[in-house]
Every structure is written in C-alpha cells, then in structure tokens.
C-alpha cells in the first residue's frame, strides 16, 4: 500500500471511532461516574469529607 492509501484507511477508521465514541462510549463513561457518586450520595455520611 502507498502512503495515501494508508492515510485514507487510518482517517476513515478514526472518524468511525469518533462516531462510536459519540454514540456509545461517552454516555457510558459519563454515566459510570454519575452512577457511582450518586449512589454514594444516597448512602449515610462516611465521614471521609
């Protein structure tokens, strides 16, 4: 493969990753932090603060 073909594949692959990130991963990662700390909020004071 030549340079342009390799760069075309990497560019398309990256843009596909961006699409997957936007539609799937970002909500999952954002939700993970929210779930964890909202759950902690609902528990009795730990005294760690």
């Amino acid at each position: 493969m030549n340079v342009l073909q390799i760069l075309s594949i990497t560019t398309v692959a990256f843009l596909a990753f961006v699409a997957i990130w936007i539609t799937r991963l970002e909500d999952y990662i954002e939700g993970r932090g929210t779930r964890e700390y909202d759950a902690a909020d609902e528990q009795p004071e730990s005294g760690a603060d």
């Binding site: 340079v3 342009l4 990256f14 843009l15 961006v18 970002e26 929210t34 760690a48 603060d49």
Partner: protein, 524 residues
C-alpha cells in the same frame, strides 16, 4: 522572493478588509466582556458550530499551513504521516477530556488548564507547576509571529521586520479589548476560511494542477523516487526514521490537548449537551485542514523553487492562480497563523492574571479570589499581560531566531510530558492522587529534558531519534507521565470523597459566586 505587483496591490486591499472585519469582531467581543471570567474563558458564550471551527483553527497553526507543506515539499508523500497522524492524536485526546474539562471547569470556576488541574487535584502546587511550564508558550507565539512575517514578505512584499509588527498590531487590535470572546469569534471566521483554502489545495492536487498528465499519479511520477508515495520512511529524517517514531508522534499529540490555549476552549461551549455535536464537527474539520500537506507535494512535483521552504504555499498560489485569488489566499494563510497566536496569548495572559495572581497570590495573602475587586484587578492584569506578551514576542523575533524550533518544543513538549498524564489519567480515574500528579509532572519533564532538551542544548549527544525528534521525545515523556501518575496513585492517598463527588458526580452547574457547588437540574 520578489512579490508580483498585482498580488501585492490586491493583498493590501484584502489585508485592510481583514483588519476591518477583525476589528469589528473585536468590538462585538468587547461589548460581551465585562468580567475576568469573560476575558479568560468566554464561559458558555458559544454554540457548537462556532466553537468547532475555532478549535480546529487554533489547533492548525502556522505549522499546518506553512511548516508541514514545507516538509512535504522536501520529503514528499511521507510527510503525510505527520500531517494526518497528528490530528488523530489531538482529537482522540479531545474526545477523552473535553466533557469533563467543561463540566468540572464550570463547576469550580476554573479559568485555564493549570487552574483546572489545580481544582481537580485540590492543589495550588499543581496549578503553580503547570502555570510555570506554560510560560514557555512564549516561544510558540514567537514561532507564529515569525511565520506571519514570512507571509507578509512573500505575499505583500513587506519587509519581514515590518511584517511582524503589523501582525502584533493586528493581534492587539482585538485581543486587548475582547479577550476570549474575540479570540474565539475571530478564530471561527478564520477556521471557515482555512477550510476553503484546504479544499482548494485538495482540488489542485487531485487534478494534478500544473503537472503533465493532470492526475494524482502524474504528481507522484513527477517526484524524485525518495519522495514518491511508495516510500514510507527515511533514515535521514528523525521524524520518519521508523514506524516507532511515527507511533510516538501519534502518542505525543494525545497529550497536546493539555496545552492551555486548547483546553480553555472547552469552557466556552454553551452547555455539555452540545458537546457531542462539537466533538463530531471539530474532529472532521481538524482532519481536513492538515491535507494542506498535499500543496507541498504538488509544489515539488511542479518543480517550484523557493528560497525558504516555509513560503511554498504562498509561492504555489502566486505561480498557479490569478493574482487576485493568490492575494486573497495569502491573507487567508495569515489568518491561520493569527488564529493560533491569539489563543496562546490569551491563555498566557491567564497564567499571570488567574493562575499566579488570582488563585495563588491572593489566597496566599489571605484574600478572597472570588471578590469583586480581585476580579476587576485580574481583568486589568489580563489586558496588560496581553499587550506585554505580544510586544515581547514580536521584539524577540526581530531577527528570526535560529533555534526557535528547539525553544518552541521546550514549551509544547514540556507541557505534554508534565501535565498530559495527570490531565488524562485524572479525567478517567477518580483515585488519581495529588501526590501522583505532582510526581508525574516533575519526573516526566525531567525525562523529556534528559532525552531531548539536554542534547538539543548541546550538553551531550543523547539517543537517536529522541535527541533530534521532539515528537518522539514528547511521546516518551507523555507515556512516562501517564505511567507515573497511575503507579504513584496506587500507593498514595486519594482525594477526599466529598471532593471527588463534586468532580465526578451529577452536574451541579457553575460556581460563579464562589460558593460550594450546588445541585441544579442536569443540562443533558
């Protein structure tokens, strides 16, 4: 090079029109800027589209529009590995950190990336270290001003020495009054112009403009064998010496997101609910602009001769297009350079006004960093610092500095190596500790100094390609920064749960009044 008289005449006309446009946008921005936070961040002031263009324009500096085409002019197609790999690294980093930077920045009222790190790790020392390294960004501004001087010389026939002062004056015209609003507003317009130029360059390349045969294959055939698209590496060039070096170029640019003039843009988006649209559009624009490297390849195929390779794109325009079009495009390239310089100047001004004065000196003296008098004083420091930084940067390149690239990478590589790890790891892993962040900053910068800056300063020979290749050295520094952050966090105390809740919990809105974050309805 002797500038074509028609190009010069029309170039001045377009330049004056550009001054008027930028001045008008600067005035609009001035009307929106009444507080220190406005000047520093333009918090919540822009929609996703304007900010996406502005972010891409800020990322694609004079290097993308001059340096990379110059590299392609000298090295051929393999320069594309730099041109098209670096944005993948940068925008991958953006995907990772943008949302939390916006969320936490608004929640704590952070006004810069060093400030964000200080707030994230509850550490004035982290803020101070990041701000101190950020001072080296002055060399980045100097590089942009130098590039602007060369464009003035190539397109407008203006002496380089006068060109750099005109560029400095242009920056001060809108930045001093309008701060971040002016920076982002003008960058959005400049970004749109830059996309148009890139599309033109791609069209010229695909149609083999000015090359016998009129196709991409004809362009390739017109090049020397070592520059053709079947040649991937070059043992003579440290950037393309191996696939490992190219991989490190990618790694280094993931940490590029930690540069203050890029990270502070996230504060300006209206709400995190627009973040997905912003990320999508800015990634596409960001992957488009570096296609400018094809212009350097085309110039080499056409056999264009230039004294200074950095001028290859302006010369390509002058020799191939109608003088009026060439003049317009030359001024547009100037706007590309200016769009990066302005962002760095604003972020540097915040090192003085916010990081050192408002968040370090004021609390040290027992004052309230959120007080009205302090904020007004910080606003004035911002404006004065903007003027001083610009004048110093221009004065420093009256004679184009011989070692500017080295100095440039003291700042960029140093920031990537030192703050990249704490920034990225701290974004995803709640247990990242303050001690780990401080240790990583010191250790990774030291590693970067040993493998790159020391050899570049002539202290010793060093190890190839790290001694010559700033990307590879920054990539190693960034990896060390991440590993040290992770490793030290395992053995040190994490931050208090209450603070981590404030950082990672459900959105609680901005902290404009200086009080503790309060729950509000989610904006998602």
């Amino acid at each position: 090079m002797a500038a074509n008289q028609t190009v010069v005449t029309w170039g001045w006309g377009f330049l004056i029109a550009y001054f008027v446009l930028i001045g008008a946008l600067g005035y609009v921005a001035y009307r929106k800027t009444s507080t220190q936070d406005d000047y520093a961040t333009a918090r919540g002031g822009f929609g996703f589209l304007a900010l996406a263009f502005a972010y891409a324009a800020t990322t694609a500096s004079g290097s993308t529009f001059m340096g990379i085409p110059a590299l392609a002019y000298a090295e051929g197609f393999k320069a594309g590995y730099y041109a098209m790999i670096y944005p993948i690294g940068i925008y991958l980093g953006v995907l990772l950190v943008a949302r939390i930077t916006k969320k936490v920045g608004d929640r704590f009222g952070s006004q810069s990336v060093p400030d964000f790190l200080g707030d994230r790790f509850q550490s004035p020392l982290v803020r101070l270290l990041a701000a101190s390294i950020g001072l080296f960004l002055i060399f980045y501004i100097m590089a942009q001003i130098t590039a602007a001087g060369f464009v003035f010389e190539s397109i407008l026939g203006v002496d380089y020495g006068l060109g750099i002062w005109i560029a400095g004056g242009l920056l001060l015209l809108y930045l001093t009054a309008g701060g971040s609003y002016a920076d982002i507003l003008t960058d959005a317009v400049q970004g749109a112009i830059m996309v148009a130029i890139t599309v033109l360059i791609v069209f010229m390349f695909v149609t083999g403009w000015g090359v016998d045969g009129g196709s991409m294959s004809a362009v390739n055939a017109a090049l020397e064998p070592s520059m053709q698209w079947d040649t991937h590496l070059s043992s003579d060039n440290a950037t393309f010496s191996s696939w490992w070096a190219i991989f490190l170029l990618f790694i280094a640019h993931i940490g590029f997101t930690a540069l203050p003039h890029l990270g502070n843009k996230f504060f300006a988006i209206k709400s995190t609910q627009y973040m997905k649209k912003f990320l999508t559009i800015t990634a596409v624009i960001g992957m488009t602009l570096p296609l400018m490297f094809l212009g350097g390849v085309l110039a080499a195929a056409q056999g264009i001769q230039v004294q200074n390779p950095d001028s290859v794109i302006p010369v390509l325009f002058v020799q191939n297009l109608h003088p009026i079009v060439a003049a317009f495009l030359g001024v547009a390239i100037l706007s590309a350079i200016i769009s990066t310089a302005d962002g760095i100047i604003i972020s540097m001004s915040q090192i003085f006004a916010n990081d050192l004065y408002r968040k370090t000196y004021v609390p040290w003296k027992g004052g309230d960093p959120e007080g009205e008098a302090v904020n007004q004083r910080a606003l004035w420091i911002s404006r004065i610092a903007t003027v001083v930084i610009t004048v110093v940067a221009v004065a420093a390149v009256i004679t184009p500095p011989e070692f500017l690239a080295i100095l440039l990478w003291v700042g960029i590589g140093g920031i990537i190596a030192s703050t990249g790890g704490p920034y990225l790891v701290g974004t995803f892993w709640e247990n990242t500790s303050k001690t780990a962040a401080i240790t990583a900053m010191v250790v990774a910068f030291s590693v970067y100094f040993v493998i790159h800056l020391g050899p570049q300063a002539g202290l010793y020979e060093g190890w190839y390609p790290y001694n010559e290749n700033p990307f590879a050295a920054s990539g190693i520094g960034f990896i060390v920064s991440c590993v040290v952050t992770l490793a030290v966090s395992r053995f040190t105390e994490p931050l208090p749960d209450g603070h981590l809740n404030d950082v990672f919990g459900t959105d609680r809105g901005a902290r404009a009044d200086g009080g503790r974050p309060e729950p509000i309805e989610s904006d998602d």
